[in-house]
């Protein structure tokens, strides 16, 4: 069965969640185009979730997003509908496409509807036991030639395979958040994965216009393999600095240095807030359970989760409070570890005073947002890093040791054969984390 045939009936488990809704949108878009091209076939996208209300919101979301897709692709759609004389205006063609897209979607609260699916995508909570029980149920429901794609970001595929007896019919398909926008897709096979499934996985990724990086089947893979370790390093730095500063100030300084001086889109603690501190903890635990000889727990994370300071996002995509407090997705306050309340970053020019602690930035420094689209960014960054190394400030030292650690983590992923090459690690960080320079090349 080729990919086009498999696309006729697809299910997404956990469809109404943050990742599931994005994956649903990507699939809905491709399947809707196929449906228009093949009007005699009946495409079905089962959107399965336990939450009825969230499923309703998902349909509204898909309708709105499909309208935007149609508006952008109306030149292509006019060609696809060229033979249909009832559809003349752009508006009519766009409406027809959106209606087709919504018509293939079947929301459901029961897994049974996945029975006829040739491909099933799972995007539920990052918990191995729950994922395994879902796949066991799917195994009994679906035909023997159906394939399963798990959006796990850390659980080894071989382990899921063993627990579910899926015997090579499951691959890791790790989308980055938000899946509809983020170009990176980590694909993870096990030693049992048949060539057919590997090829289908790659072909689908191409159809979804994703940048694929293949990771070895090691807990955390490349993305979290790097991020979690770097996060733990940042937390250790906070503890080290808290001997001189307060914990709160240390979090602020490390975050600021990792954003500004490492020229990244956000600082490490803002990124943890974005991912969710509880999600970070879950992945730590999974990695800890599979990778011996390395400590994956951290007091600060345990403390934050115990205090229910979790970060993550609300249903509308806005940022929840974590290490930082957010107003309209901008950092407005910082978590005070002593009072367990948020300190305003602007009150009494709090952040301005703390910024001085990092010292002056090198003359050639530019913010990430200014360099991101700069055609000469490589040149400018090379000059900057040379200057950074010659700068004798607290900020420069902090940034350089962090950079060194980040690079070591990356090179170890290659040495441990989790990543096939330095380039693969760089690609994950460049695409999935929006870095603007390859960490292995610094």
């Amino acid at each position: 069965m080729d990919l086009k045939q498999r696309l006729e009936n697809v299910s997404v488990i956990g469809a109404a969640g943050k990742m599931g809704s994005g994956i649903s949108l990507l699939l809905c878009q491709e399947m809707a185009f196929e449906q228009v091209k093949n009007p005699n076939s009946c495409y079905t996208l089962n959107l399965i979730d336990t939450r009825a209300e969230a499923l309703k919101d998902l349909i509204t979301y898909l309708r709105t997003q499909m309208q935007k897709v149609a508006e952008k692709q109306v030149v292509k759609l006019r060609q696809l509908y060229a033979e249909n004389n009832d559809l003349v205006e752009n508006g009519e063609i766009i409406d027809a496409f959106v209606n087709t897209a919504v018509s293939i979607v079947c929301p459901s609260q029961t897994m049974a509807v996945a029975a006829k699916s040739h491909m099933v995508f799972e995007a539920i909570i990052e918990n191995e036991e729950i994922k395994a029980s879902i796949f066991k149920e799917l195994k009994t429901l679906c035909s023997e030639n159906s394939y399963f794609f798990t959006n796990t970001s850390s659980i080894p595929i071989s382990s899921l395979e063993e627990k579910t007896q899926l015997q090579g019919r499951i691959v890791g398909y790790h989308f980055y958040n938000p899946p509809a926008i983020q170009k990176l897709l980590e694909i993870i096979s096990s030693s049992n994965t048949p060539e057919d499934l590997s090829l289908i996985a790659l072909e689908l990724a191409k159809l979804l216009k994703k940048k694929v990086v293949v990771s070895q089947d090691v807990a955390g893979f490349i993305g979290n393999g790097h991020f979690i370790r770097e996060g733990i390093h940042a937390l250790n730095e906070v503890q080290r600095l808290s001997e001189k500063y307060s914990m709160t100030k240390a979090v602020y300084l490390v975050n600021k240095a990792t954003q500004d001086l490492l020229v990244r889109p956000m600082g490490i603690f803002q990124l943890m807030d974005y991912v969710g501190i509880d999600v970070f903890q879950k992945i730590q635990r999974i990695m800890g359970s599979y990778l011996s000889g390395e400590n994956f727990t951290h007091d600060i994370i345990e403390q934050m989760v115990a205090s229910s300071v979790l970060g993550g996002q609300y249903g509308d995509g806005s940022q929840k409070d974590g290490f930082f407090q957010y107003e309209k997705n901008r950092m407005a306050g910082i978590y005070d570890f002593t009072t367990q309340k948020y300190l305003s970053l602007s009150e009494n020019a709090w952040s301005e005073k703390e910024d001085k602690e990092l010292g002056d930035y090198p003359e050639s420094w530019n913010a990430w947002k200014n360099l991101m689209k700069d055609k000469k960014k490589e040149e400018k960054l090379a000059t900057y890093f040379v200057q950074l190394k010659e700068t004798d400030t607290m900020g420069a030292k902090l940034a350089l040791s962090y950079l060194q650690k980040s690079k070591e983590i990356a090179l170890k992923l290659v040495a441990d054969q989790v990543a096939a090459s330095n380039q693969d690690v760089d690609d994950v960080l460049l695409t999935g984390f929006f870095h603007i320079y390859g960490i292995t090349t610094v």
Binding site: V75, V88, E89, N90
Partner: protein
């Protein structure tokens, strides 16, 4: 063709801002002035320049597609909203696609000539940012022939039509040299718009305009032979002015020095259901302009300031040929030579034209006449150019659809 039986004047013009992308006050998700607001602003802008609205005998409103852009028909009855003195005055709405403005003036001129009125207020308006451009393209496509053209037309219907013309012109006269001329057209449009605070591109501060204009067209995202800089803007706005007899000017207390006289008016239509015979020529424009020249007893050699309908840069170039300023295939060289720049022999589209000023479709033809009037009466502010005494007349070309309705006016000082 004989000249008018009595003098007809145009004066007291008013142009609102042309609002749309490029204007700092424009944000697609924020509230904007409505159709009614623009009609009032432009109408009242005229009334402030005259002795009393009581003297206005009739109103004409030009608009193309409010019925779809704003779901509003019956626009003639919006004229009384401008001023209480206009209640119960006869008002008419005219529509001729993008030539609606020119057509409004033509109707006002005919009313003056009929002796039924001495003063006519002409307002032209369009509010197009009410929908995304992709839907606006559907509405604007109504200027073509829906039954025979829309289904097979491009998603962006008119860019598609004029891309076809550009393609034909490239084939006949060379793509590279034509594209270069189109880039020069764009640069001139922006340079001129920067002199006019109401222009949509007034704030455009791009450095290398020619480089932008030279950008290669992208058929996947847009159309095959035009880039976005070749196109006029999606605009909201209105223009208004007074059309009056000599008696009317007196009643309004207006000086002839501040008015222009209509020396020639040419109007022409061609069959909407038929495709142009020659894609490289604007034959209807040529007909209308020739009539206007003939009535005014002038040739292009007497035209010192020009307003052409450059809905696309290629259209501006074709219009120069249709109006006699260049032989067929030669207008590109003329543009590149600087002939149409503000310092050139015949300054053209001195506030930016449709590409630079903006194109609120129903109002554009009136905006053109307002700008020519200001140039000839030296009221053009920073946009003022030197009009050679050897070339004392101004010419407007208001074109609708794919060269299907055209109104052209020869305007001059009444000496």
């Amino acid at each position: 063709m004989c000249s008018f039986r009595k003098p007809v004047y145009l004066t007291a013009g008013y142009n609102t801002i042309s609002l749309g992308t490029g204007r700092p006050e424009f944000h697609p998700k924020k509230p904007r002035p409505s159709l009614e607001d623009y009609i009032k602003e432009a109408g009242q802008g005229v009334i402030q320049q005259i002795s009393s609205a009581e003297h206005i005998d009739e109103g004409v409103i030009s608009n193309f597609m409010a019925a779809r852009f704003n779901r509003q028909g019956h626009l003639a009855a919006l004229i009384p909203s401008i001023d209480p003195a206009l209640r119960y005055k006869p008002c008419t709405r005219v529509e001729g696609a993008c030539a609606s403005g020119g057509l409004g003036l033509a109707n006002a001129i005919k009313t003056i000539l009929s002796d039924l009125a001495d003063v006519v207020l002409v307002v032209g308006v369009e509010v197009q940012n009410s929908v995304k451009a992709i839907y606006g393209a559907d509405y604007l496509a109504g200027a073509g022939h829906y039954a025979s053209e829309r289904k097979n037309g491009h998603a962006y219907f008119f860019p598609g039509k004029f891309a076809d013309r550009a393609g034909a012109y490239y084939e006949k006269f060379g793509a590279e040299s034509t594209r270069e001329a189109m880039a020069h057209w764009y640069a001139k449009a922006i340079e001129n718009a920067r002199t006019c605070p109401q222009a949509q591109e007034y704030h455009n501060s791009a450095g290398d305009l020619l480089k932008l204009g030279r950008k290669a067209p992208n058929a996947n995202g847009f159309v095959d032979h035009l880039n976005l800089f070749d196109c006029s803007k999606v605009s909201d706005g209105a223009s208004a002015m007074i059309c009056a007899s000599e008696e009317g000017l007196k009643k309004l207390g207006l000086d002839k020095d501040k008015a222009v006289r209509v020396f020639g008016m040419g109007q022409a239509e061609d069959d909407l259901t038929q495709a142009p015979e020659d894609q490289t020529k604007l034959s209807t424009t040529n007909q209308a302009v020739s009539k206007a020249y003939k009535q005014a007893q002038v040739s292009h050699e007497k035209i010192g300031v020009l307003e052409v309908h450059d809905c696309f840069s290629i259209t501006g170039i074709l219009a120069l040929e249709a109006a006699g300023f260049a032989e067929h295939g030669q207008a590109g060289e003329l543009v590149k030579s600087g002939y149409t720049k503000r310092t050139g022999e015949v300054p053209t589209n001195t506030t930016g034209g449709l590409v630079g000023f903006g194109h609120y479709t129903g109002g554009t033809g009136i905006r053109q006449a307002v700008d020519i009037c200001r140039q000839l009466t030296k009221q053009a502010g920073d946009s003022q150019v030197e009009v050679s005494s050897q070339r004392p007349y101004g010419l407007t070309i208001s074109m609708g659809g794919n060269d299907r309705t055209v109104v052209s006016l020869v305007l001059g000082k009444d000496t």
